[in-house]
């Protein structure tokens, strides 16, 4: 039994406050504290020291913490990649991108963070822009992501003009992220925002469900823009990073700019080549 004149040690006070004592010992300390103002005052000083430290520790960090949406989606996509059967739906592009995955993730996070800041600044937490029939992806979910590749890679004669197939688990993850459940398989195509032809990365931050042909600004029109930008980049008329930025920020605006038209050209709307992966 502790008495008022024996007082508790700092260690006892700390262990008691942190709930690290046995119930029996804790009961003894509680009884002493109820009688001893000196020990309670010392415990208050200790609590103040804890509060000082916690304030110091958390002051700036909590305010700087970016939203979890992007990193969580990235984690889900990486888990989906791991659980996918090896080799299924994996293209030459994806195999080429394996060595630079860490850099891709970093680039993605940078873009995600930038997008989050843009959203925070404009107070725009609206979901996918259904008013535009989903022609433009939600910047929060699909800010675009690129691999660190150079002009030589982009303009090499060996580069495939077909986008790599998107693995099924990743497609499902993209649809889930956009809240699209039980949609017909031909209603959407999972498309790359920045095409791999221009260094676009094969990860969820660069993929979105693009509505099929019933919209004006559909996948075929975007294909035409991608070809145009690729030509301009490889003929030295446009910087690669500018092309990547413009197509990721607003590909419809980029189309209007580079084809000098407000509506898709007839020959582009009627194109037959398809590069995006059906969603279903």
């Amino acid at each position: 039994m502790l008495h008022e004149d024996s007082h508790l040690s700092d260690r006892d006070l700390l262990l008691w406050a942190d709930g690290e004592l046995s119930p029996q010992r804790a009961a003894g300390l509680r009884q002493h504290l109820s009688a001893c103002w000196t020990c309670r005052a010392r415990m208050a000083e200790q609590e103040r020291a804890i509060a000082d430290f916690v304030q110091l520790y958390r002051r700036e960090l909590d305010a700087q913490l970016p939203p979890a949406d992007g990193p969580r989606a990235l984690l889900r996509a990486r888990i989906a990649e791991r659980t996918a059967l090896p080799g299924v739906g994996r293209s030459v592009w994806l195999n080429r991108m394996r060595p630079v995955r860490a850099a891709t993730v970093l680039a993605t996070l940078l873009l995600v963070t930038g997008a989050a800041i843009r959203i925070a600044q404009h107070g725009n937490h609206a979901a996918w822009n259904m008013g535009a029939m989903g022609a433009i992806p939600n910047v929060r979910l699909t800010p675009g992501a690129t691999d660190p590749i150079g002009m030589q890679d982009v303009c090499s004669a060996n580069v495939s003009t077909n986008d790599p197939a998107v693995p099924d688990p990743l497609k499902r993850e993209v649809l889930r992220e956009y809240g699209l459940h039980d949609v017909p398989g031909n209603a959407y195509e999972i498309d790359y925002l920045v095409t791999p032809q221009l260094g676009g990365a094969a990860n969820i931050r660069n993929l979105w469900p693009q509505p099929s042909l019933h919209t004006v600004w559909n996948a075929r029109v975007k294909d035409a823009l991608e070809d145009r930008l690729h030509y301009l980049v490889c003929s030295g008329q446009l910087d690669l990073s500018t092309a990547q930025r413009e197509i990721s920020q607003d590909w419809v605006a980029a189309y209007k700019k580079y084809f000098r038209t407000d509506q898709p050209l007839h020959e582009h709307s009627g194109r037959t080549r398809f590069r995006a992966s059906p969603a279903g």
Binding site: D10, Q46, R48, R72
Partner: protein
């Protein structure tokens, strides 16, 4: 005989389906996502104390949860996942920091660690007392600082000890020593 189910058969099927849905285990991916939401902030905060940038911290957190996915997928123990997460994050952060230092030719001097509360802008903006507290924190040995950080993230003494490889008594002694220094800040 018709294949069309009558009402009672349909009811039974619906009930069975509902029961299956009700008893279905959550998918491991969803569980991981929930844990990610729960612990990402704490882990990022702790990782920043190693001097890692926010982007590096995010990448380490991704590695931690991918490891957790593999861990649980193999059917390994689910006890004390919080301690497990911090232990893996701690070890990955140490590796990354050491690799960066080797790459930059910097000696492993723990006391020269950048600390989020100690950047120049903050130093200027802080009042005198906060600067004094910052100086006290900076002067603590790294192990003592880590005990404080982990305890502030809600880890019990046993978990702190597991992350840092210390006994329970050493954790208690470390915390007591550090708090006593903070308490003396106002008595000088």
């Amino acid at each position: 005989m018709s294949d069309t189910p009558n009402d009672s058969t349909l009811d039974i099927r619906l009930l069975a389906a509902a029961a299956r849905r009700h008893s279905a285990k959550p998918r491991l991916e969803d569980e991981i996502a929930e844990l990610f939401d729960q612990w990402r902030g704490s882990l990022l905060r702790y990782l920043s104390t190693f001097g890692l940038s926010q982007h590096d911290g995010e990448e380490v957190v991704q590695e931690v949860f991918l490891s957790l996915f593999s861990h649980l997928q193999k059917g390994k123990a689910r006890t004390n996942l919080r301690g497990w997460l911090f232990r893996v994050a701690h070890n990955l952060a140490l590796k990354r920091r050491d690799a960066e230092r080797k790459g930059m030719g910097i000696a492993a001097d723990v006391d020269s660690l950048p600390h989020p509360a100690l950047n120049p802008e903050e130093e200027l903006a802080s009042n005198q007392r906060q600067r004094r507290l910052s100086a006290i924190l900076r002067a603590l040995p790294e192990q003592d600082r880590r005990c404080l950080y982990l305890r502030a993230e809600g880890l019990r003494y046993r978990e702190v000890g597991e992350v840092l490889g210390m006994s329970l008594g050493s954790v208690a002694a470390s915390l007591e020593r550090s708090l006593a220094r903070f308490q003396r800040a106002d008595k000088r």
